[in-house]
Amino acid sequence: MTINEIDRALADRASGDPASESDVRVEVATQWQLMWWKFRKHKLAMFGGALVLFFYLLAIFVEFFAPVNYTTYNEQYVYAPPQMIHFFREGKFGPYVYGYKFERDPVSFKKTWVIDESVIIPLRFLNRGDSYKFWGLFNANLHLVGPVNAEDPFYLLGADKSGRDVFSRIIYSARISLTVGLVGVFLSLTIGILVGGISGLVGGRVDNLIQRLIEILISIPNLPIMLALAAMVPLTWSTLSVYFMITIILSLLGWMGMARVVRSKFLALREEDFIMAAQLDGVPRVRMITKHMLPSFLSHIIASITLSIPGMILGETALSFLGLGLRPPVVSWGVMLQDTQKVAVLANSPWLLFPAVAVIIVVLALNFLGDGLRDAADPYQ
């Protein structure tokens, strides 16, 4: 659309023609505005995006959202079942949960905790509880919710084998599990852009070689190799080193898809007129890539990033679940699920599977968001 046409359209609008108003809006909008409008129409993607945002906020402020610290334990309440939170007491707002009592199983005679409806444990929002060092910077003890008496048991999603709060641990895990996905994707994006960029820009024999290599790597089942690499991480390493090693392993086996996207975009862009024009103007190569090429496929990159985070999260969960990934005391959803490996434990305390629910919700949300982003990535279609 030429400047004249825009002028004419604007003139139409000034003369009060309502039909052309929205047309003008679309025609003068920037690329990112168009994408946003297109994305907004995708309800499921909007929903997924909101969920993802929520989970990452949770990951940033874990110490506040978790009722207790993830290491806090109470050996008295081993495998205590989940409590329901009630908001109204005698018609007034007053949140509470029921307490516990011991009961003998009539069949196995094992002592187990059951909910005791005669004991009421009052709760308080914005409660002062366990103290923590927020982001390692300053001391605080504010929690979103907690029992008024610090000694009272409060296990929204039950307790684990050491009497630790499953709910708090799931929230703390979000920080690890979600950032493993981000760091891993960032690493594989770097490899992917480098390899895919070389492949697409240089072309010819180099391109051919790289493409064959990628085909080979895709045709190999990656879990055995991932397990082998993860099993080699020495037990003596610090938790931080193990964390980075696991993300490196995940990204080493996950960059191929990204490289393919980048390459195909470079190949398509090479033929575009504006690139040709820039070339004729003598724009240096680096500037050409960063200023002219990258912005035009950034949206596609963002979409593929979103779609590859779930793979990373599932990969970390699987590795940690098998005991080859992250190790306690680090807590991630996979590490928590290790406890469910013994079927007898699982049968008596099925609430230990709750971390998996978190995994499923996050993976679904990221998939919805990624689908929407991919559809919106090319707003000119």
Binding site: R212, L213, E215, I216, I218, S219, I220, P221, N222, L223, P224, I225, L227, A228, L229, A231, M232, P234, P310, L314, T317, A318, F321, L322, G323, L324, L337, T340, Q341, V343, A344, L346, A347, P350, L353, A356, V359, I360, V363, L364, N367, F368
Partner: protein, 331 residues
């Protein structure tokens, strides 16, 4: 056609070679060499009463070429596998690795193959239904199940299966055989017993792949159904069923064959973790234990065989595709 086959075969050989390099690199990863581990193991088990002669150690070192440069070690390792079928010795299981591989590998492929068949049998009719009845209630339900199938890790399904069977049937669904057949020799009854148990793990394994394939089938068939030739056929008075099955479905089926290349690695990967959870007699649990104990020759043997068989599977699927679709072999 033959040219295509030949080219494809060469690339497969190349792939296998790259894989063997990769696996060899994995063997080299643990600190210390195989002999050190073996000697430590022998010393530990013989409680110091017998000392291992340095000659014996030297002998092993020599046979694996540990004193020689790394590429010689590689050729010795791969040479033994190729010429004698020797994969090395497992110091955890105290057996030849090759025995364990031949024991477990067929079961892995039985499981992966049944899972694969199940994926097709389920995904094909559902994909067709979802495309023909687009936006119907059934379509929405299947789409929803499809999304779940992508998001739920398959080991979780295995865990839920364990939980349900243990809680409500008093016996955890572990293994592939009923108790009376577990150690019995192979017979018709044992085979039937295995098939009775096999379908559940196969279903768990295939859920992710099924979900993906339903979506592909649906999208492809929708594309085909909007093409002019369908309209033409309809205007000529072809019955809807005949119209559907004769052309569009056959067209839309192509990705079924062409995606074998990435369904298969997924199934093999899935088998490792599902079998470890359900303790099935496939490669999974053995490879897992070998890796945890850094029993590298066993682990390497399994990884090598699993990946090579996957590559062969992909090769076969490519040939099938070339037979089905002339456009590929004429390229």
């Amino acid at each position: 056609m033959w040219r295509y086959l030949f080219r494809r075969f060469l690339s497969m050989i190349f792939t296998v070679w790259v894989i063997s390099l990769l696996v060899f690199a994995i063997i080299q990863l643990p600190p210390g060499d195989y002999v050190t581990t073996l000697v430590n193991q022998l010393v530990a088990t013989s409680s110091g009463s017998t000392t291992i002669s340095s000659e014996y150690i030297e002998q092993i070192r020599e046979s694996y070429g540990f004193n020689q440069p790394i590429y010689v070690q590689y050729f010795k390792w791969i040479g033994k596998i190729l010429t004698k079928g020797e994969f090395g010795y497992s110091f955890v299981y105290k057996r030849d690795a090759v025995v364990m591989i031949t024991e477990r590998l067929p079961m892995t492929f039985a499981l992966s193959f049944s899972s694969f068949i199940l994926v097709w049998v389920i995904a094909l009719p559902i994909g067709i239904y979802s495309a023909v009845r687009q936006y119907s209630l059934g379509d929405y339900i299947f789409s929803f199940i499809g999304f779940i199938g992508v998001a739920v890790p398959n080991f979780l399904l295995a865990l839920i299966l364990l939980f349900v069977t243990y809680k409500y049937f008093d016996q955890a669904m572990i293994g592939l055989f009923s108790q009376e057949y577990a150690s019995a020799p192979w017979s018709m009854a044992k085979l039937i017993d295995m098939l009775k148990h096999l379908w559940i793990p196969a279903l768990i394994l295939g859920l992710g792949g099924t979900a993906g394939l339903i979506r592909t089938m649906r999208a492809n068939l929708l594309d085909e159904l909007n093409k002019p030739y369908v309209e033409t056929a309809r205007s000529k008075g072809l019955s809807e069923a005949r119209l559907l099955w004769k052309y569009p479905v056959r067209h839309a089926m192509n990705p079924f064959v062409s995606t074998i290349g990435w369904t298969l690695p997924g199934l093999i990967s899935g088998d490792l973790i599902v079998s470890t959870v359900l303790n099935l007699p496939t490669s999974g649990p053995v490879l897992y234990n070998a890796l945890r104990a850094q029993d590298m020759y066993v682990a390497a043997g399994f990884i090598l065989m699993l990946t090579i068989l996957t590559v062969i599977g992909t090769f076969v699927s490519d040939i099938l595709l070339a037979v089905l679709d002339p456009r590929i072999r004429l390229q």
